[in-house]
Amino acid sequence: GVKDGRWTVLQLVEALGFCLENTDPRTRGRGIQLLSQVLLQCYSLLQEKEVLHLVLFYESRLQDHHLVIPSVLQGLRALSMCEVLSPGLAVSVLKAIFQEVHVQSLLQLDRHTVYSIITNFMSTREEELKGLGANFTFGFIQVMDGEKDPRNLLVAFQIVRDLIAKDYALGPFVEELFEVTSCYFPVDFTPPPNDPHGIQREDLILSLRAVLASTPQFAEFLLPLLIEKLDSELQSAKLDSLQTLTACCAIYGQKELQEFLPSLWSSLRREVFQTASEKIETECLAALHALSACLSRSVLSSDSEDLLDSFLSSILQDCRHHLCEPDMKLVWPSAKLLQAAAGASLRAFHRITCSVLPLLLEQYTKHTQSSQRRTILEMLLGFLELQQKWGHVEEDESTLLSLQAPVCSVVFSALMDPSVQLQLVGIKALTVLGSLQGFLSSSDLELVVDHLIHLALHEEDSQSSEAAMEAAGSMAPTYPKVFSGHMVPRLEEELQSEREDSYQNHHSLQQRCLQALAAVSTHTSIMRETVPVLLQHLQKVQKGTEARNAQDMVSVCQSLHRVALQCQQDAEGCWYFHQTVVPCLLAMAVQAAMQESTHTLPGKALLEEEVLTAMIPVISAATTHLSPELAAQSVSHVVPLFLDGEVSFLPQNSFPSSFQPFGDGECLEAQRRLVALLMAFVCSLPRDVAIPQQEWLLQELLALSCSCNCPFTATTAAKCFAGLVNKHPAGQQLDEILQLAVNRMEPSLAEGPRRAQALTLLLWVTKALMLRYHPLSSCLTDKLLGLLGDTELGPATADGFSLLMAESQDVLHKGCHADVRIMFRQRFFTDNVPKLVQGFHGADPDVKANYLKALSHVLNHLPKPVLVTELPTLLSLLLEALSCSDRVVQLSTLSCLHPLLLEAPQVMSLHVDTLVTKFLNLTSSPIMAVRIAALRCAHALTSLPTTVLLPYKGRVIRALAKPLDDKKRLVRKEAVAARGEWFLLGSPGR
């Protein structure tokens, strides 16, 4: 009634009058409870005057019997939420509560009510409460003193934090307030199991930490407490103290810390030197870092001593001598402490490095063992990396600059050391030095380059040589001139030198040169030097007659590919690369193909499949990141080349005959192979680049893919067609093209000599359409499913399913801008697997294997989580697949079952009998991979419930004795693992 406004609260009070004044406290309690409930529901409707009366009434009730108090508090809570509460009332309510109620003797819920009253007042009547002065703080301290419930503590901590953050007067009660909160530190609370409130230990820790670290006023009490807890035995207490200390340092200044620095440092040092726990060590270092940062922050007054300085001095004093003993175990803790302190500020860094660096350099020369040198150099490296953090080296005060010469000589000596480990650290240090702008002089840089070249080319250990190349790559953008001026010519020279030493050596040297050239091309200006060198080398190899030509060309292409990947992000470099490399490769290929068609000459190696395949990624990588305008410019050259034989844009474009890859004629076989290069280019273009004469091109590709006898050419043409179809905008044109393709495929699929080619085309087109969810794809997939029953094409079709599901290397992936929808695999799975299963049951026995193979391909490429949820339905089919004689089917089925055994043992244990029999049979398969997989599955069987397995134990152990004597080591290894695990099944001590 009150809610609708029909009754006023006053009327209610009058109506309840009897109850409210009853002498029996229980009846009184019920009356007040009713009133409070009403108020809680409609506190927003109350008038100012009504509130006044109610407040007075409730205040007087606070002195009442203890049974009544809970309801009274509820009522006050309702009133505390009123907006019309007149000034002064809040204060009087709180005073009354502080005076009359002994909060800690109440129940948890009622204590919570008190806290909410306080919170409500604090959020709405801040000014009034501040008028209370320190009395309010004192009152609150009394209220929360002795609180035990975590739910209430969270609220109480929040109140304390607000008290401090909103600047309430704490007066003389700072210590009391600290005491009343810090007694909970460190928090030791384990939430009861199935706790509905969901308060975690972590919540309490964090909120308490926020309180403790909220004001510098607590410092004098908190720091001794932290030190005491740090010295305790408890891991969690240590961790908590360290984290709190770190938090405190964010707001403390010199003044607060001064007194406690020595004991803090000694505790931290002890922890780092002695602890076995990595976590504590990390936290200690973080705390030290924070301390040092805090000290560096405070402004120096001229008369006081520099605390940072004295603090760091004590650290140095304690750690320095440990650095001189690289074999002892305190070396690293000391170095880490110093680095943590030095990392806090530039000032701290200077203070520490000017003492430590000369020491380290001196120690390096003193110790001669490479393992000791390595430790010292690693520490040095740590300090150098810190320098990197400050970026620039300041001219006047840097200690590092004054030590430039010795540092360089130390690093160089490390590079020349025979120990690979030391070399690696040296290379790392060199990289860091290189990134310090202005540290290395130009003569040093030349030395650096010499060292890197030597390491990259002549070091026997491949690890160092690779690291040297990486280092060169990462330093090159900083000093492009030095690298292009010194390193590239040297490498070029090496590459072209015809040495007389053994062929093997020479070959590996050339390989290294090629790799190094690619690695160093991380800057546009360097790339402009290296790319011509690489291309020149490619041409030279092509003209040569040596037997390993093809391989050499492949490695040049790999280097070019690496360069292309490195310059992809840089638009200018990418365009340069594209402009130089693509025409050159095309020209070489075209020329080779022409010669081929007239008479046989060297250069033929260029047209071999592996070389062309290696060129594809180069062209593709050079194309994918082109901007649309530039790509359009380029496409207007390349496409006419293939369609019209328009060779004018190629360098050295005087060819004996015309280039017509799509023309008819027996002698054009070689030219047709170059479709691979066309594919690499066209299929990598961004989707919004229009391809001139696309319809014509598509028709030619379609014709080629269906008519060509050479499988390589036909497949590439099909891939190219598919790549274009995938990006073709939807619409009538696309439908026409697809219709044309289907018309072309149907007859050749049905019969004739070119069924295989037609199948390849069908597979690729299906993939292209499936990726973009084109409606026609389901019709094409059905056709493929039908072909599985074909005796001739069935196996090839089944293998084709892996092509559909797998990520393709050169076309139709995200990298070359193909239209790939997410989850296409899952979609394909749900659409087609039922059909596969159905087809399997209806098929002739001799083609059943095809269905199983297709199914296992689909399953193999499915993400594991999906697999595990879907598989149980297919289990019986998979078990049948195990007895299929095709080894691909066996292998992929086993690999499907393996995760399932581990993750869904309940389902699998229903079939344990079949599984055991099948696995054991397969362990004697003639194919090693199958034996291994079967043994792994047998091993995984042990994760099923033991009771299910025990009946088979004897049998399995006897059967597994045979593969123990297998002639392959890997099989024996698996057998031992599996058999050992089976022995342990059900026996004691597991």
Binding site: A961, L964, D965, V976, G980, F983, L984, P988, G989, R990
Partner: protein, 115 residues
């Protein structure tokens, strides 16, 4: 194979404790014999028999049946060398030991744990 067996008293493996070393293992595939010498950590190591038993069981389980096993203590490294060697060489006693549930439990603990 035996390098990863756990020591009954330490949390380390036999290899880490240098109880078994590669030079002290001789395998003759043609004659199907395997001979392992192991070195107890101290001359009075009370666990020597147990370690030997663990090695023997592990090999029994992991090698094809055709192999004849010989596990014994490296000469001169244990106080009661002969007694232990005799125990390990005696097939009946090894079999009997494995009937003992408690012993089997300890052996299995040595063999499982890590892996």
């Amino acid at each position: 194979l035996i390098r990863s067996i756990n020591d009954p008293e330490h949390p380390l493996t036999l290899e880490e404790l240098n109880v078994v070393e590669q030079v002290r293992v001789k395998v003759n595939d043609a004659e199907s014999t395997v001979s392992v010498e192991f070195t107890p950590t101290i001359p009075h190591c009370s666990m020597a028999t147990l370690i030997g038993l663990s090695i023997k069981v592990k090999l029994l389980r992991s090698l094809p049946e055709r192999f004849k096993l010989d596990v014994h203590i490296t000469p001169g490294t244990h106080a009661s060398e002969h007694a232990v060697n005799k125990q390990l060489a005696d097939k009946e006693r090894v079999a009997a030991a494995l009937e003992n549930t408690h012993l089997l439990e300890v052996v299995n603990q040595c063999l499982s744990a890590r892996s």
